[in-house]
């Protein structure tokens, strides 16, 4: 190779497999020389991947799809041969909004339908009182965070475009904005929810796995044409990331993984907070209540790393539901083709069988069928679908 591979990432825990692949020497063992570049915005990651400054990137799964479809930006086909993480986000609400929601719920406080309906009542009361609409922050227009928040609140009867303000906020600004009252809630990846809880300014209301059992969160993204020209490098990258994910998923390795990820040039927050998210055992209230979930963040176990085109189809369906795109069979095929289980299987010499459940597992609504997106979308009352 003439020069090291340049790979961009955003300092979030779901970049773990990529960071460990490099810092634990898995890429080197594959004969790859890699320079990791920490970035400050998803727009930067997308643009630098698009124009070739990055060979690969830790990228929001919906951005990979939007980029391939040319929605909202330049059309650059992306290939995603490796899922860097499933789930991993959480919805954190301010202490006052938490109290307001809880006062509307008798039991089932982690039931997303109960919290969503309670939110609808809080919203109605505020409107009657002439209060400002609540502000919810998420990380990017094309993000699982955006779709998870929308899916959840719409199920309770809250229209995310009409009844609340839904705004984009860079993850490092989330906690401050919650503390000073600029936002009332946010949906963001680790470690920011835990940081808010530790500072006593927020409660974790939901792990996103309460809302969807399995949601493709971040992918290892490559330009499709580059991936076609460099099949061996792609396979080596997939293997290195796979080894790293396996390493992290071993409980006895988590402390070491957290220490590496905590370094200032990587994620740059306390190792203990990172380990909590790797373990899926999070402090959810400032008073110290703990909640443990085996599906909080999946980095490789349960076949999480194998890209599932059905996941891509579901994300594309959300873009349609919320008016970012319109439904076309061709676009659906393009979206599904972004996720490349074939490249994953080829790299790891697998026969294409998946051990994964192969479903989205939403808490409400019909089961998702990628061969009938129109019928699926028709079942939702609230949406911005273009006719």
């Amino acid at each position: 190779m003439t020069r090291p591979l340049c790979i961009g990432f955003i300092p979030l825990v779901d970049a773990a497999a990529l960071i460990l692949a490099v810092d634990k020497g898995f890429t080197e063992a594959e004969g790859l020389e890699v320079t990791l570049v920490r970035e400050v915005s998803w727009s930067n990651v997308r643009d630098k991947l698009n124009i070739g400054l990055f060979d690969a990137a830790h990228l929001l799964a919906p951005v990979a799809i939007a980029s391939s479809l040319g929605i909202g930006h330049v059309k650059v086909p992306i290939a995603a041969p490796f899922n860097l993480g499933l789930n991993g986000n959480a919805i954190t609400v301010s202490t006052s909004l938490h109290a307001a929601i809880m006062s509307e719920i008798e039991n089932g406080r982690t039931d997303p339908m109960a919290t969503a309906r309670a939110l609808a009542r809080v919203v109605a009361t505020r409107r009657k009182d002439g209060a400002d609409p609540l502000t919810f922050a998420m990380t990017f227009p094309f993000s699982t965070h955006n779709y998870q928040l929308r899916f959840w609140m719409a199920a309770g009867g809250v229209d995310p475009d009409e009844d609340v303000r839904l705004v984009v906020l860079p993850p490092p600004y989330m906690v401050d904005s919650l503390a000073n009252g600029h936002v009332d809630a946010f949906c963001v990846g680790a470690p920011w929810n835990s940081v808010a809880v530790d500072l006593g300014v927020g409660h974790i209301l939901h792990f996103v796995s309460d809302i969807l059992e399995r949601a493709a969160e971040k992918v290892l993204a490559l330009r499709q044409d580059w991936s076609e020209k460099n099949p061996q490098i792609v396979a080596a990258l997939v293997r290195a990331a796979f080894r790293a994910a396996e390493f992290i998923e071993q409980p006895e390795n988590r402390a070491e993984a957290a220490r590496i990820l905590a370094r200032p040039e990587r994620i740059g927050v306390d190792a203990e907070i990172i380990q909590r998210t790797l373990d899926g055992r999070l402090k959810i209230s400032p008073e110290g209540a703990l909640r443990e979930s085996s599906s909080y963040l999946l980095l490789g176990r349960e076949d999480a790393a194998r890209p599932d085109p059905v996941q891509a189809a579901w994300l594309y369906a959300q873009m349609i539901r919320w008016g970012q795109s319109s439904l076309s069979p061709e676009a659906l095929r393009t979206a599904m083709a972004v996720f490349r289980p074939d490249l994953y299987d080829a790299a790891l010499v697998r026969n294409g069988e998946s051990a994964a459940p192969g479903r989205i597992g939403a808490f409400t609504g019909p089961a998702f069928e990628s061969n009938d997106v129109a019928a699926y979308l028709a079942s939702f009352v609230i949406g911005r679908q273009k006719s």
Binding site: L53, P141, L166
Partner: protein, 196 residues
Amino acid sequence: MSAESSPKIVIVDESPVRAAILEEGLREAGFTGVSHIGEMQNLLARIYALDPDVILIDLENPSRDVLEQMFQVSRAVRRPIAMFVDQSDAASIQASVDAGVSAYIVNGLKKERIKPILDLCISRFNAFAKLQDELERTKTALEDRKVIDRAKGILMKLKGLTEEEAYVLLRSTAMHEKKKMAEIAQSILTASQLLK
């Protein structure tokens, strides 16, 4: 439309110096309606209040993602905004990303009118980076000179050389060892510390 005379330009940059350099350049080029936002809180509200035709933002700014929201069709959007750099402008994207700046335009302003603004931005951003680079190099050069002067002093004292001879000795040693004079000088300082 006011943009026909001079488009309203907003610079979103947390570096006041760079913003000033850019602002000055734009004014000199005849763009009179230039304002600067240096505070990122409630960024969208600040931008809407200024109602710009063009938004310039530096790439080190995480709030770039906030601007992306303006392309979304939703209640919060009062004016649809489109990005300047499109399929046909790959070279422009490359140049602006290299320079570290990104431009967004509000729908309705012609692309031909944006080109000179972006070009100016790119050159000013590059000029700023060069300035910082030079500052850094000047600092290093000053440090180097101090180290070399002290090493010369030591050589003059220990070996009874003139200043000229000490300098020549340092230079020839550096050439011989393929190192910088400052590095050789630094080793002399370190050695003399150790031998004290």
